[in-house]
């Protein structure tokens, strides 16, 4: 009884906390100066149409590096908590012919679509994180369709380590080539032409690294949560 009362009190407390914000909030009619600056800078300094990518990869690049680290830690935690040798689980039924054929046909296409999303992250909606998740969804499809499908752990961990290393190396390259305050500055490569694939400096490279890293990490998570077999990370 007391517990329920406290729960109600906690929910009301959070609502009371948010109420002044909700009362005062008006949808703004124009952008604040910081956002305007980011948009102008993305268009003029970086030659990048997708301003969100400019913020994620360049202006707030250090934060993104931190988030990639958080993702890595969470993946490592999942691998640490679940040793797949212990997860025997129930006996699995084999998938039907339709699911198997469909999965073999679709999985390469989904991986290709994921790669398309992260390579074009600076031009179209999407980017490394989304593309990586799409690639991991292809892995999930394969894991569902083929119960005895084994992921190559060596390949996944190499991909993950190499792409993480390449991300930091690209950041440091900016530091070396452009000066002391240019960590993760992509402008050491030519900015290219507006709306072309090879534009915006090193951003497509950096986002591809993020995409491969996120894709391989989430594939490891899917594989860990699947049961059967064993894992050494």
């Amino acid at each position: 009884m007391i517990k329920q009362l406290l729960t109600v009190l906690a929910v009301i407390g959070v609502a009371w906390l948010l109420w002044p914000f909700l009362k005062e909030f008006r949808t703004p009619a124009s952008l604040n100066p910081l956002a305007t600056d980011y948009i102008q800078g993305s268009v003029n300094d970086l030659n990048m149409p997708n301003v969100v990518t400019a913020v994620v990869v360049t202006y707030r690049g250090l934060d993104t590096l931190g988030e990639v680290t958080v993702l890595f830690l969470a993946t490592a935690g999942v691998g640490f908590l679940i040793r797949r040798r212990e997860l025997s689980g129930a006996k699995k039924r084999h998938a039907t012919e339709i699911l198997k054929t469909g999965a073999t046909f679709l999985a390469p296409l989904i991986v290709m679509f994921g790669a398309y999303i992260f390579i074009h992250g600076h031009l179209t909606p999407g980017g490394g994180f989304q593309g990586g998740v799409v690639i991991a969804s292809a892995m999930l499809l394969l894991a569902l369709a083929f119960t005895d499908f084994e992921f190559s752990h060596r390949l996944l961990s190499w991909l993950e380590s190499l792409s993480g290393l390449a991300y930091v190396a690209l950041g440091l390259l900016g530091l070396v080539l452009l000066g002391v305050d240019a960590f993760l500055d992509p402008r050491f490569l030519p900015l290219g032409r507006w709306l072309h694939l090879f534009s915006s400096g090193a951003v497509p490279l950096i986002y591809s690294c993020i995409g491969i890293k996120v894709g391989s990490e989430l594939s490891v998570v899917i594989d860990s949560l699947r049961g059967k077999g064993d894992t050494e990370c």
């Binding site: 909700l22 949808t27 707030r60």
Partner: protein, 123 residues
């Protein structure tokens, strides 16, 4: 504005679920709902009236500034909250996976997903 209210309602529902439910899986679902509500809230803060996505393509008006730069005239939404939410979604996914792994581990060691069986956690 509607999105903002929906976000706050989802946050409250998520907090309620996390506090009132006993099942570990339901608590994790509550966390997911709270997570989604927060995303909606942040996205709603960044919205600008009648604006489009912050991707400068043919749909957004451009003009030439006197010094040769391009000047963005069309209305776009604030890119910073979008960028925050973009990464927060992936981090939320990873954290949810971690919590589920923890729940699986607890179930393996003590054979229960009811939080009451772990006395030191919650009452």
């Amino acid at each position: 504005m509607l999105v903002l209210i929906c976000g706050i309602l989802l946050m409250l529902a998520g907090i309620w679920t996390m506090l009132a439910k006993k099942n570990l899986i339901r608590i994790i679902i509550g966390f997911s709902i709270l997570d989604t509500g927060t995303h909606l809230l942040i996205v709603a803060i960044g919205y600008v009236k009648n604006a489009t996505a912050p991707i400068i393509d043919a749909g957004v008006k451009l003009a030439a500034a006197p010094n040769g730069d391009k000047l963005v005239l069309g209305k776009v939404v604030d890119p910073v909250p979008s960028a925050l939410v973009l990464t927060a979604i992936v981090i939320g996914l990873a954290v949810t996976a971690l919590m589920l792994a923890y729940a699986v581990r607890l179930h393996k060691t003590r054979g229960s997903v009811n939080i009451d069986d772990y006395e030191e956690q919650k009452w």
